[in-house]
């Protein structure tokens, strides 16, 4: 069974540009999460989808971040325009029913220069 897959694995963009990260969860997992780890800090929650609906987006830092989950399958996280402080590793995770453990992808390392 395929795990959580994220694309790209690395991205280097200039300040002011747009970047879109993609996450393919484990098939059948209704819950999809986005997390971020910036340098020296802990992994922090951004957003939670249940199927195609946003269950909790309290961790989204500002309106430059837009997450979508089309048809309850894969998800994208767009940063527009990117700022220097957006640099970090973005993780996607998915889980099945409530209470189950979340499985993480390998992450996308975003560097804004």
């Amino acid at each position: 069974e395929a795990g959580v897959t994220q694309f790209p694995s690395h991205s280097v963009i200039e300040k002011g540009q747009t970047v879109t990260l993609r996450c393919d969860p484990i098939s059948g997992h209704d819950n999809l999460y986005w997390y971020r780890r910036v340098m020296g800090k802990e992994i922090k929650f951004l957003l939670h989808f249940v199927k195609e609906s946003k269950q909790d987006e309290s961790g989204m830092p500002n309106n430059r971040f837009l997450a979508e989950r089309t048809g309850g399958t894969y998800s994208t996280l767009k940063v527009q325009p990117a700022e220097l402080e957006d640099s970090g590793v973005y993780f996607c995770a998915s889980s099945a029913d409530r209470g189950n453990e979340a499985f993480f992808g390998q992450g996308t390392r975003l560097t804004v220069v």
């Binding site: 802990e42 992994i43 909790d56 961790g59 979340a102 993480f104 390998q106």
Partner: protein
């Protein structure tokens, strides 16, 4: 405020030298306490979930325990391949269903042969 604190930040052991990692937490609406292992350049890999004080779980050389305020990850006779960053996270309830994880900064474990 919800918080997860892990100690020590880094731990160096000789192969076969047993030790424990600590995770203390304060959170409202605890859904469970999770331990993950993270290798460089990879996403967190699920190890254990603990739900109630007094619960214990084991996997190979690892044993996780839980009290009302903290969790311990005991490593017995570690091997070099146990070297990794160990992450503790607490799960929150969100409207009665599965919510996000709050992570600690992790403990970086190095096991020398």
């Amino acid at each position: 405020e919800d918080q997860v604190t892990q100690s020590p930040e880094a731990l160096r052991l000789q192969e076969g030298e047993s030790s424990s990692l600590n995770c203390s937490y304060t959170v409202s609406g605890l859904r469970g306490l999770f331990w993950y292992r993270q290798d460089p350049g990879k996403g967190p890999e699920f190890l254990f979930t603990l739900y109630s004080a007094g619960e214990e779980k084991e996997k190979e050389r690892l044993k996780a325990t839980l009290t009302k305020k903290e969790s311990f990850l005991h490593i017995t006779a570690p091997k070099p391949e146990d070297s990794a960053t160990y992450l503790c996270a607490v799960g929150k309830n969100y409207g009665g269903s599965q919510g996000n994880l709050i992570f600690g900064k992790g403990t970086k474990l190095s096991v020398k042969p």
